[in-house]
Symmetry: C2
Subunit: 230 residues, 2 copies
């Protein structure tokens, strides 16, 4: 008969912690590192299991950025920012049972309608700009813009106007950006593939500074993982 001698416990094992700001700096760093990669792993699993597009961005308090994305962060962000469905729905070749899949032809139709709307949008922008100029004169606030003038009642009217202005701007930007992307594909500047339908131009400035593989499962996940200094 073998005597089972209970070895002295080398660790306390996991202990329950309260979800509140960790005060110990070193502890915080370790936890950050572990949980961050935990989330990235979960994100990768989600995308594989469910065919979802996932993007995760994490800023540490030290100001570093870490991100994970499937198929990659930029694509997911671009889809989100442009309000356009992810590339998969435009893919007619992938004959899966996605009920929301939009045939390319239909998408083109929608796109043409959007373009038709563009002219009116641009006109509206000019209108609002005209209003701005009017207000500046009427308000007589010299160097400042009308929305900087606190004497103007900003409670309802002006805020809505600014919102309106912003919406117009954004609509125009979105549609022009969409067209620009098509043009680029036509020009061969971009390859058609699973690329963002609407490039988010304001993001072109990033410089990736390091790139690591995704260790856990030997890189079976499609997503990329990289961090770069700020």
């Amino acid at each position: 008969m073998v005597i089972l001698r209970k070895l002295p416990k080398r660790t306390q094992g996991r202990k329950r912690i309260e979800i509140k700001k960790l005060e110990n700096l070193n502890n915080k760093q370790v936890t950050f590192s572990k949980r961050r990669s935990g989330i990235f792993k979960k994100a990768a699993e989600l995308s594989v299991l469910c065919g979802a597009e996932v993007g995760v961005i994490v800023f540490s308090t030290a100001g570093k950025v870490f991100c994970y994305g499937h198929p990659n962060v930029e694509t997911v962000l671009d889809c989100y920012c442009s309000g356009v469905a992810p590339p998969a729905v435009f893919d007619d070749t992938a004959g899966d049972q996605n009920p929301n899949r939009v045939p390319m032809a239909e998408f083109n139709k929608e796109y043409m309608e959007a373009i038709k709307e563009l002219e009116e949008q641009k006109r509206r922008v000019v209108e609002v700009k005209e209003e701005v100029r009017m207000k500046k004169v009427v308000g007589g606030c010299g160097e400042r813009f009308w929305w900087e003038d606190e004497s103007v009642d900003l409670d309802v009217l002006d805020v809505q106007e600014v919102e309106h202005y912003l919406m117009s701007l954004e609509d125009v930007r979105k549609k022009v950006a969409a067209r620009l992307h098509e043009v680029r594909i036509l020009n061969g500047t971009l390859t058609p593939g699973a690329l963002p339908p609407v490039p988010a131009v304001h993001r072109l400035c990033h410089m990736p500074m390091m790139t690591t593989g995704f260790g856990a499962q030997g890189g079976q996940f499609g997503g990329g993982y990289h961090g770069f200094g700020v």
Copy 2:
């Protein structure tokens, strides 16, 4: 003595699954839903524990978008897109040892400069619009816009112009949006808290279709969670 009768097992309990595309549609949907909220919860915990800024975006294969962010998705995306350090760097009260922290005064100075630049940006937009109108007349393509006219050489010049136009639009939008946000805080429409310095107004066009609280811990986390149809 109480006789402990083993009740018949109502479930098999959790079973190990392989990380590969789930074929059963219903199964996939359930897993997607559960794991998605699991990730959001993890993200919330990470931000609370480690003071990190986290943003998560998930597209389902059905084309729906779900996102979580602390302090909110827009802020994280804006920081990522602009390459600017996260909002915590603007927080003078939190006297932590963040080397990237920017004093509030300095930020205000930068902001004023940005506003000053606004007028010029707007002028540039008008200029480009003028050019557009010119091109339309010169090109003689009637109903279509100049960028739709394939007879126009889009290889270099026009693409750059459109890019320029987009940059201008985006700059203006961002700055007006920033001002709008301040105005809202002043009006009490928003509470100051840890809110986005630059609200991404171009995302207002999305229609939130459902909003759920963040169940687990009774909504102690600052982040928001919402999904909307595409």
